[in-house]
Symmetry: C2
């Protein structure tokens, strides 16, 4: 399909065109990359629509799928169109994540106002990040109001998701005792809202206590300029009983409104765009090493270096000469 | 001076030639880089000498300078020639580290069998790493028997030092209570030997207790294939009273001998050489962005991206076109 036609269909909210466009940006073929760049640029020009991008991190066991299913459905009931994307560099290995996601979010996946797309099958976080970021741009162009970008938090993936989100939500499970759940300080500092899920049945009291612990921990963090009074904050929700979702959405909107008015919303997007531009240039420079001929040369020189036949410095210069000539 | 002449003088253990050669590898000028690569390669061919490279990490306050002064002097008394290098990406900012190091290690700096060279003045860890690694190669070619590579452990600098060392030593101070000194697990896992310094005077009992704590902690780590029975281990030393240094050296030698015989010594060097070769290729590719014209273009495009005038993807492609043409 012609890029112009495809971009028009995406902007006209054609779901199959959107899926096709995302498949295009996920491809690593050089000609596809070029078409994808043209497509994104074209859609950006055609649609000034801006979605709310919500990053959502939660390790397995906190009920993330159930939360996305409930919260996503709740949003569509408010008349909003919701897209769900994922950053999960491990999905290539575990496999079957498409089926997994769609099975776990059965109700949402059949909802005409929702669009679920699993993480691209790439083992490299840099590749997953770029493709997800471009899929965000496409979903935005396709008129979605809320884009949920989820991650299980493997390695640096929370940082990657936070760097492409307007809000960053940390989903946690109730924990016994007064001990924080080994959440890294850096992750806590990225969170705008912490949601303690499973505040239902036997776990309700534990969830309330866990929430209080995190509220206390959040108060100890240094105040950030992008936060109004009372943020970041911790709240309880029950995805299972669909309890607390409206309140959580209210807080997300309040925070977003405040940030828009204070200029932090636009400022964060500008800084993120710049960050991804620089990141993409660096990744592209390093991608030269992934071409088959470059890999063969790296391997050959790497063996010579390992055997002591040449020094790392000399071999590196030789490799750079090869790349410049090639 | 001609490269051939310089390399001959370095191999002939001329200290001034060695200092000059290190200054050359520390330069970032393109023509100096080329000469440096040729020099290193030439020295490598002329001198098959292999030193024992000992990485040493210790935060300010653990008595690292005193330890290097005492241990370095002890080694020279065994008839060994000792070089001291440093990886400290912060030295560019703090300044005056040459004077600092030499003042703090007055005795060693006047010792004809010792050579002390402070960290190169680079704020970028990648640059410090490459230059230090090349200085190690030069010192090795200049016939030093032991090369101590020290770091204060800022950011990733311990990893960098471990990646260029045959042995990695962690120097700690006695700590009150039974609490481990917030040493990151990753750093503990890199250590071959932990030395608890200041085992003298009032602190002797505390040092012994701290050493026992770390011995216990080390036993909990997973056994590594490169370790014989009993390693990694924790020991007490007193750099001030020069106590425990002979025992520490004995253990380092025992470990080294075992690793040489088991093939781990050569294996580690081969893996390290390969790692640095790949690292250097990557750094060189990214260094293209540091040229004045590239920086200007990055800045201009970065502003356009931040203002939303173009997408990160399109701007990145434009930047890559600029680099290819330039």
């Amino acid at each position: 399909m012609d890029t112009q036609v495809l971009s028009e269909k995406v902007v006209a909210q054609d779901r199959r065109a959107l899926a096709r466009a995302i498949t295009l940006v996920e491809s690593s073929r050089a000609d596809h990359r070029e078409t994808a760049a043209a497509l994104i640029e074209d859609i950006r020009r055609k649609s000034p629509h801006q979605a709310l991008r919500i990053g959502l991190s939660g390790t397995p066991g906190v009920g993330k799928s159930t939360f996305i299913e409930s919260f996503g459905t709740f949003l569509t009931e408010q008349g909003l169109r919701v897209a769900v994307l994922a950053v999960d560099p491990s999905s290539a290995r575990s496999g079957g994540s498409i089926l997994g996601d769609k099975t776990r979010m059965e109700r949402l996946s059949r909802n005409p106002n929702a669009f679920i797309r699993p993480s691209p099958s790439q083992s490299h976080l840099g590749g997953v990040a770029r493709r997800t970021r471009e899929a965000v741009a496409l979903c935005e162009g396709a008129g979605f109001d809320v884009i949920l970008i989820e991650t299980v938090g493997v390695g640096q993936s929370e940082t990657v998701v936070a760097e492409m989100s307007d809000l960053f939500i940390l989903l946690l499970a109730p924990a016994g005792g007064d001990e924080l759940q080994g959440v890294k300080r850096g992750i806590m500092e990225m969170a705008d809202i912490i949601l303690v899920n499973k505040a239902d049945g036997d776990l309700k009291a534990t969830a309330t206590r866990t929430c209080a612990d995190y509220s206390g921990a959040l108060r100890l963090l240094r105040k950030r300029p992008q936060d109004p009074e009372g943020f970041p904050k911790a709240m309880t929700v029950s995805a299972l009983e669909e309890d607390g979702l409206a309140k959580a959405w209210e807080e997300m909107q309040a925070l977003t409104t405040w940030r828009r008015e204070a200029g932090h919303f636009a400022g964060r997007r500008a800084a993120q765009a710049r960050f991804w531009f620089e990141e993409e240039v660096k990744q592209a420079l390093l991608a030269q090493l992934q071409a088959p001929s470059a890999r063969a040369a790296m391997d050959q020189l790497g063996q010579e270096v390992a055997q002591g036949a040449t020094s790392p410095t000399a071999a590196a210069q030789q490799m750079l000469d090869t790349l410049t000539k090639g």
